[in-house]
Structure formats: C-alpha cells, structure tokens
Amino acid sequence: MSRPGNTRALPLVRNGCRIAIGLTLVLVLATVVFAVLEHSLPGPRWFQNKQTVFVAGSIGTEFLPLPVLEVLPDIDPERFPPPRLDPKTQALAGGWIERYGFLERRNEDRTYPATNPELAALLKDDPELWPLPVGFTLSNFRPFSPDPSPVRFVGLACAGCHSARLPDRGPSGKLVYGAGNSGLDLIGFFQAFRGVLLEKKVKPSVSEARRRPVSLTEGPNLDASDYEYALSLSSIQEARKKRGLRNLTQAEKTMIWVWLQGAQSGAEKTTMKYDLPPTPEQLRTPEYNPVGPGRTEPFVTLDNEVLNLPASHNRGFSKIPAVFREKDRPWAQFDGSVKHPNTRSGLAAMTAGGSVDNLGGLGIGRNIIDAADYTVYELVGPTWNDIFGEPPAPPATGESQANDAEGAHLSKSQRRGREGYRKWCVSCHGQPDPAKPDTWLSSSSPDFGKILPAIDPFQFPKEQWLKDWVEFPDQPTWRNQATDPERVSFRDASIMPYTLFTYFDRKHPTKTTGEYYPLDHPLYTERQEIRNSGGYINAPLDSLFTRAPYLHNGSVPNLAQLLNLEPRPESFVRGFNTYDTNKVGLIVSGDINSVLDPAKVKPEDPLVWPFDTKAVGNLKTGHNYPWPPDEAKQHVDELNDLLQYLKTL
C-alpha cells in the first residue's frame, strides 16, 4: 500500500538525485579539464651542464612572479628603487640591484670558469632572464612548491649568493662563479620584500578628514578595515599599464592573485614570529639589520622554519662563503657541521627561501644534487693570475731557482713564505699538490679537517672532548686561537642537528612533514652526518685571496690583519669595498662616523654599513697564528713572506 505523501515526494527525490548527479558530473569534468591543463604547463627544465644549474637552475627559492617584480619599483620605490636598463647590455643595473648588492649582467666574454655554451645560450635566448641580476632564475615553479605555474616566478640560484666580481665590482671585475658575494645584503633584500608584501595604504574611500592625524604624537583614528595592501592585483595591473607593459592573461592574473593571498596572509601570520619588517632606513642600520653585507644568519632561518622560533637572539652570522673544490672538505660549512654536500646545498637553499616540500620536489631536488656536484667535483677557484692577469710577483731566477722545480713560479719572498707555510700552516690547512694543481694534500696534516673549538673545551674533562677537536695543552693557548663562538653556541645549537635530522627523515617516528616523502628527501642525512661541532673546521686555503673578508664572520678585512701583520680594526665600513692587492683583502675605512645617517641617503644608494667587531657575533678575535699581535711585531719579515706566498694559493 502506497502512501500519498511518498508518491508526491518520490519524483522530487528522483529529480533531486538527477540534478545532484548532473552537477557532480559537470564538476568532475571541469576538474578533469583543469587538471589536464595544469599538467600541460611547463615542467622542470633539465640542464645538461652542472654549471648551468649552479648559475640559473631553480633550487626552490621562487618568491615573486616576474610580472610583479617588473613593477615593484613603481609600487614601492623606497624599498625597491628603480633600476635602469643599460643600453649597452640590455640588462638592469643600479636601483635595487645595486642597493642590495646583486651583480648586474654585463656583456662579459670572460668569466671564471668560462661560461659553458648551454648557459650562454640560455641567457642569450631568454629575453626575460637576461636583464635580471646574475644568479636570478626564472621558472614555472610556484613558491615553496615543485608544482607548475602559468606565470614565471623569480628565484635565486646558487650563483645568486655564490658569485662575485673579483677583485671587486668595478669595471674590470671578472665574474667568478662560486666566490662569495661580499657585497650582497641578502637579509636586507628579503626583509624589504616582506615590507612590500605587508605595506598598507589608506583606502581611497576614507575621507580626508579621517585621514588626518589626531595630534602631533598620534596617527589618524583609522581601523584595520580602512587600510588595503599597497601590493594588490589591481595595483600591479595599474602599474603595468602605466609602464606600457603587456596585459596579464587570465591565468596569470589568477596565479598572481592566489600567490598574493598566500604570501600576504603568510607574512601577516608570521609577524608574531618575525616582527614587522624594518623600514628602508632601518635596514641600513646594524640595530635592525645586524647581518650586513656579505653575510647571512643561517641558523635564524633554521630556527624560524624548523623550530618555529623567532630566534631574535641569534647572532650566528656567517660570511657568504666561496664554494670551490668542496671535495677537499671532509665536512661542509665553516663549523664542519654537515657532511653530505647535498644536505649542505639543500640547507643553503632553505635559508634562501626553499621549503622542505619543494626541495624534495621534481626538478628542484635534482638541481640541488647537480649544483652540489658542481661545487664538489668541478668548480675550482681562480688563481691570482686568473683575476689580475699576472702572477703576484715575478718568479725568482738564479741558482736557487734551479734547485726548486716545485717553486719555479715563486718569487724569493714567496719561497721563503712557502717554507713558513709548511712550518706553521700545513698541519691544520694542508697544502696544494705541486704536481697536480687541482689536488689539495691533507694526508700529512694531522689537524686538517679537525675542529678548533669555539666553546671552552676546558670546561669539560679532556676525556669528554669530541674526538674531532684540535687538542690544546691549556686554556690560554686555546683562547688565543678561538674565534667568535656565536655560530656554534647560540641557544638552540645543541638541539639543532637532531631537529634537522628528524625534520627531513622520512622514517623517523616523530616526523611531521617528512612522513609524506615517498623517496629519500634530498636533504635527508644520516644522523651521524649532521652535528654541532662546537667550533670551526680547519679547511683548505685554495684561492685564499678570493675569500676576503676573513674568519667565518667576515670580521677581518684582509689577510695582513689576519696574520697580525697589522692590527685588526675595531670597526670599519662595509659595502662595496675595493680590493687591496698588497694586504690581500678588502680596503675598508675605519671611520664609521663617515657612514651617513640612513635618513639622508637616497633609496638607491648602495648599503654602507658600520661593522662593529665588539658586537655579539662580530668578534674579530682568535686565529692568532703563527703569532699573537705582540709577538708578530718581531716576525714582520717572515709574515710578509708568508703573505706573499698565500697570494699564490
């Protein structure tokens, strides 16, 4: 027996079902079409030459869509002063590129090592990539993701930090891949980028009356809803229109809108952790930008990302290092904390904006491995002759020359310096193999690759010392050599290695994101291959003259000062320093009062930054070798000879 109510309801239900099925079918079909289109977007670019990867390959640091970068100077000229298009090179120069210390492209026919044809063709054939500074990449990866995007994103390749013009960035400077860029204000650049993302302006709809400050000491009475982001899809489109740049496609607009939502909400959420970004003026001061040019704060980034801490106390600064001939380094980093080159490169990429997700992704993971391989097996630093076109001194002639085939290229002074080097330096740093210029000998150097402790080893019984520590007979001897400890003794240093291990270890039971990685993550490392060494590793000194300023924190401008031939300055001015071929290093002014008030400089002026060696993390102390300053005065000739020899490495 049927019920009348049911008879009426049944067709309704049936129709409802049909509508639901139809709508679902439409949704499914639309989604399938979307997925197919999405997967047809450009994927990873595979490069055959590892130098190409090092210079222009994505390592997961994509941070900004190219169409946005093109108009960033129009939207925020204070943080991103407009560069000019050099008519000779057709590359961007000056403006934000010079302000933050990036290297503008030049029509260089000489780089070191020579640019391979694949890279040359890539730069030549990509009219969007060429104008960008050296080491910038363009890819179709989304930020923090290996997924495809319809709009090209800008990122930094390894060469973005690890390339420099030597001896300096003057007109004759030669582009050297792998050298640390001692003028790069990387932290300032990314802080400025955060600033652009978070910059807000009062909405046009707010009346003039409400915009007025209520007093000299107070701003206007405006709510959060009265403001809007200065960087928005409409402001981007408007700026592009004003500049006569092409209109964005619908897909590009959608991607940029999605990126803006994620980037701005992400930046808002993390202000609790990072605080608001400094103003352009503040970024020129050590109070707000304690890192300065040519350095990074790697553990701040890792504290931020891995431990989710603000790490505002962290002063573990690190010079942007040269990455030549890494095969000769048993452990990477200044503190010898990472063994596997892939992990080292991955962590470096992470500190420049990569994420645990995209570093494991398609294309990017391979680039990390290839770039690491390049620094390990291929990239060799230049000699003095490669940069200056002549040896540091003419070779000696005469009888002594005939008896010294190994030193045929050395002057008399350099030969004496070589003997000094063998007496004082070889046991820790090893030496070049005279028979094979690209080989560094360390087998007869007992302390090579060992850690010179920066934390006081004498606070522990000697049997507890780490086996890789250089042994010292007493505390004063150790203290004489120990350098600034901040990089290895910051608050979370003791938990960092295990945390990094678990962060990237897919098999670990307490893992979080790592659990999803179906294949070993490029950052994956064995637990015993990541450590807090407690000090700094005795490393090879190849291409030593390219590694200025010296010590891990860049606190000693030149080699003469490092050898205590000259007093190390208490404070000095950093920025675009020119090169001193006599003292082997940077020419710096000791007059930090000459640094202009940041409020009085133009936005496009390069960073001029006072380096105070008394500040935490900036200590210039340690490495009083072969002699401490007082004793060094009695060995000036020997030290001068040593300095001359060091130029030849």
Partner: protein, 233 residues
C-alpha cells in the same frame, strides 16, 4: 545499465533484479565525484600537487570502499543492496586508479630523470625504471602485492558488472574471486592505514573501516538468511 532479473533457481540465488536507480547512483557517484573534485582542488593548497593528490585519492578510495566492503558479506541478506555494492566498489576502484596513476606517473615517474642521473642516491640500479623506484621505496613484496591488488580489483569490478548472471562452475569461480578480492582489498587497506599508520587521518579512517566491516560480519553471522520467497505458481 545492467538489468538483472530476479529468478528462483533450483539452487539459491541472491542477485538483485533491479536496474540502477537514480537514487543508487546519486548515493555513490556524488560522493565519488565530489571526493575526486576535492582531491584535485584541495591538493592545490598543499606544496606538492602530485604527492597530495596521490594521498587524497587513496583516502577517497578507502572511504568509498568502506560501504562496499561492509555490504559484500551482507549481499545474501540484502539482495537489493547489490547495485549499491557494485557502484561503491567501482567508484572506490576508480579513486584507487587515480591514486595509482598519480603515484606511478607523478610521484615516482617524476623522479625517474633524477634517479637515472644519480642511481646511488635513490638506491636503484643503473638505468632504473619506475618499477625500480617503487621497489626501492616500498620493497619488493609490497610493490608486487600492490600490483596484484590493482589487477585483481580491476578484474573483480569488471566481473561484478559483466558476470552477473553467470551460472554453474563459472558462478562459483566468480564468487570465489569476489571473496578473494574483498579479502585482499580489506587486508591491503588495513595494512596501509593501521599497520603503516602514516598519519592520524588515515589511521582513523582505517579503524572506521575495520569497525564497520567487523560489524557487517557480525550481522552476517548472527542474522537469519533471507531466503528468497518461492515464486507463486
């Protein structure tokens, strides 16, 4: 649509005799379709589309398998549920196929270029195939077990639609295959979700599946068989 007439055979038969109704399709296709849409789009919020589409498709497959796995033991008690079982079973398999395709071609296939350059890093032989990569990650047993599962489930779904009215020895073989596949899929999902326990979400789903299937088996054991009524002369 398949039409199966309900008949009283000399031996007991349990097939439903109805064609698929809009309600049955709505009940099964809509969750599948919306789940698939969610799988594709929700992964956009992640930082690895291929990987998370693989993960979400596996979850969708498991969710859709729950009713299918629970209904199967009760088909002799609930002959009208046969269509719903077949539909859930099919859509669950289709979601699994999406999972399999993204895993094979996206996650593992996407790494093949890199693995060929650096086979030692991936613990695979020189000139590796996607299968080598999967084995390196999952192990030989799990990999081949998954491949068998994929083939078996596909065959089972096809038979569920095409071998409906088959009689005699063929019917016994088909029924045996249904039981084997049911067991294989159930055990695979239990191992993937509860034993491997990759995260809490899949663990909860796994236990939910185990609970519902256990309940279904209990009902099957303790309920009276609904013998078909003899046709009126």
């Amino acid at each position: 649509m398949t039409t199966v007439t309900r008949e009283l055979e000399p031996q007991r038969t349990v097939e439903a005799t109805t064609e698929i109704t809009a309600g049955q399709l709505c009940l099964t296709f809509v969750p599948f379709g919306l789940g698939l849409v969610a799988t594709i789009w929700y992964a956009e919020l992640s930082q690895d589309l291929r990987l998370f589409r693989t993960i979400y498709a596996a979850r969708l497959s498991l969710l859709l398998a729950i009713p299918a796995l629970a209904l199967f033991p009760l088909l002799s008690r609930l002959p009208d549920a046969r269509n719903v079982w077949r539909l859930f079973w099919t859509f669950s398999f289709l979601a699994y196929a999406v999972h399999f395709a993204y895993a094979w071609f996206g996650v593992f296939g996407g790494q093949i270029e890199t693995a060929r350059l650096h086979p030692n890093l991936f613990h695979v032989p020189e000139k590796p195939t996607v299968l080598d990569l999967v084995i390196a990650h999952q192990g030989t047993f799990v990999t081949y077990s998954n491949l068998v599962l994929t083939g078996l489930w596909l065959l089972d779904v096809v038979l569920a639609w095409l071998a409906e009215g088959i009689q005699g020895r063929g019917r016994i073989i088909v029924m045996a295959l249904h039981i084997l596949t049911w067991l294989y899929v159930l055990i695979s999902f239990v191992i993937a979700s509860i034993v491997f326990t990759k995260n809490n979400t899949i663990l909860v789903m796994g236990w939910a599946m185990a609970g519902v299937v256990a309940l279904s088996l209990l009902i099957r054991v303790f309920s009276r068989s609904s013998e078909p009524t003899p046709r009126e002369p």
